[in-house]
Every structure is written in C-alpha cells, then in structure tokens.
C-alpha cells in the first residue's frame, strides 16, 4: 500500500477515536457531578466561539461588519435568516468599488 493510503487510514482511525473517546470515558461513570454537567452544557458555545473569534481577528471591515450583523439579526431572526443576512453583508462589502 502507498504511504498516502496509510496516512488516510491512520487519520481516519485517530479521528474516530476522538469522536468516541469523550463518550467512552464519560459513560464509565454512573454519576456525573453537577460541575461536570455544567461544563458539558457549555461545550457548544465554548467550542464554536473558538472557531469564530480568531477568524474575526484576521478579518477586515467586511468580515467584522458581517459578524456584527449576524450577531444582531440572531437576536430576532431564525438561523437561516441570520446566516443569509451575515453572508449578504460580507459579499456586498467585499464587492464595493473602493
């Protein structure tokens, strides 16, 4: 087998390991302490934030304006409307003749 194929198979194995590991460890405990529960409840907001914040750091005006509009629209609109509004602002500002 080629090196590339080995890399792909090993990458698949470690990725699947990461995807089951948290559950395998946690499910060994019959009782999950409230503080661990509180931490787990924070997982979606915590992880997804780390995928947004550094991108904002690299962004210019169009990117920051798009994120601002996304955040504001999200207070009222549904997920699809929010995403569409943010994307529209980004694309419009990037294509403005300067």
């Amino acid at each position: 087998m080629s090196t590339t194929l080995w890399i792909i198979l090993a990458a698949a194995a470690v990725t699947y390991l990461a995807r089951v590991l948290g559950h395998l460890v946690l499910s060994r405990f019959a009782y999950v302490p409230p503080r661990v529960q509180a931490g787990l409840n924070a997982v979606p907001a915590a992880v997804l934030t780390t995928l947004v914040a550094p991108a904002a750091l690299d962004g210019g005006l169009p990117e920051l304006a798009a994120l601002l509009v996304t955040g504001l629209v999200a207070l009222r609109g549904g997920a699809l409307v929010t995403f569409a509004a943010g994307a529209a602002v980004l694309i419009a500002l990037r294509n403005l003749p300067v």
Binding site: A18, P44, G59, T70, T82, F83
Partner: protein
C-alpha cells in the same frame, strides 16, 4: 447549512490535488476521515513533505474538540443501541453536533431517523465535493469576492447565538473568545481551538451552580 460547508468540501478537493493527492485519494480521505479542517491541515502538511506521523498527529490535534462533542452528545443519545451510537459518532462533525444540541434543547427526543436525515446529505455532499474539487478546483478564480472563505465563521456565530439562553452563556463565550484569540496569536493554530474551548468549559464548571442543573437527557 450545506451552502456554508460546501466551499470547504470543494476547497479540500482542490488543495488535495494541489498537494499531490489523486482524485481517488482525496475522495477516500473525505469518506473515511470526514473532518473538514483536519483534512485541509493534513494535505497541506503532506504537500510540505512532513513525516507521516506528524501529519496524523496534526489531524488528531485539530480533531481533539470532537472529544468534547462526544462526551456532550453522548448524554443526548445514551438511550440508543451501541451500533447506532457507533455510527452516530462517526458522523459527529461540528455542524452535526451543534444541530443535535439544538434539537435536544427544544425538548425533542433524538431519533436515529432525525440524526441520519441531517447527517447523510451533508456526508454524501462532502464526499462528492472532494472529487469535484480535486477534478475542477482551479475553475473558481475568485472565491474571495463570493465570500466563500468566511461563510463558516458566520454560520458558527449564528449557532453560538442560538445557545444564548443557556446558563453562563455570556461569560463562557467571552472566556473562549479571549483565550482562543490569545492562543491564536501566541501558540498558533490549531491549538487555539482546544485551549479556548477548555477555558470556557472550565469557567462554566467553576461558576456558582444554579439551583437547578439540567439533568442529562435521554
């Protein structure tokens, strides 16, 4: 949602071909690994002639956030039979995890049908895009003007906002944002994800507990 993710499937295919993967290899990697950012990091390192173990280790590091997803989502599908859970974890990418949390938050009992109904179209599109990107990647001349590189942060921010009614949401988001940005400029990518996320989670665990803590569902 597929629109937000689509550019990355194509981008991966194009980058894989650029870095010496065949169309078949790029497609196989998307089918077996199914983890966008980690695949892109992997083929970039491959193109830089990095040692194979370095490539595999880097892919694991990019995917360490899945350990958290797995622990958190595992509570929501604890009532499923083992084989169904094993399949579900294979498909547990960022988007799938976030939508699963959202579905559970609305008080619905998670079913395999709902889960696969969300996961399979995304998974199959992802595989097809690797092949398309590898074959035709150079045809998109100006992805920047179309905003393709920044749609995923916008989509993730809308998801973050969707969780704003959870306990300690604001301090968690603030801690994760600040720490991930600090880690991004000091330690560098991809560590900022794990480090930033841990900061938010530890803060949530350390905060005074509300009188009523949501029990694990399922």
């Amino acid at each position: 949602m597929i629109i937000a993710i689509a550019p990355f499937g194509l981008l991966f295919g194009a980058l894989a071909a650029d870095n010496g993967f065949s169309i078949a290899e790029a497609t196989l990697m998307s089918a077996l690994v199914y983890g966008g950012a980690s695949q892109i990091v992997g083929v970039e390192l491959f193109g830089q002639q990095a040692a194979p173990w370095m490539i595999v280790l880097s892919i694991f590091i990019v995917n360490t956030r899945s350990i958290l997803y797995s622990a958190a989502a595992g509570r929501l599908i604890a009532h499923w039979p083992g084989a169904q859970k094993a399949l579900a974890f294979f498909l547990l990418v960022d988007l799938q995890y976030a939508e699963t949390e959202r579905e559970a938050e609305q008080g619905r009992r998670l079913t395999l049908g709902w889960y696969l109904g969300l996961a399979l179209p995304i998974y199959l599109t992802w595989i097809a895009e690797a092949a398309l990107g590898a074959a035709f990647g150079r045809l998109v001349t100006d992805p920047h003007a179309l905003g393709l590189d920044f749609l995923v942060p916008i989509y993730f921010l809308s998801l973050v906002m969707g969780f704003r009614r959870r306990a300690n949401w604001l301090p968690v988001v603030a801690a994760s944002a600040v720490v991930s940005m600090l880690a991004y400029v000091t330690v560098g990518s991809p560590w900022h994800v794990s480090v930033g996320a841990l900061a938010g989670i530890l803060l949530a665990a350390a905060m005074p507990l509300p009188r009523y803590v949501e029990p694990s569902r399922g």
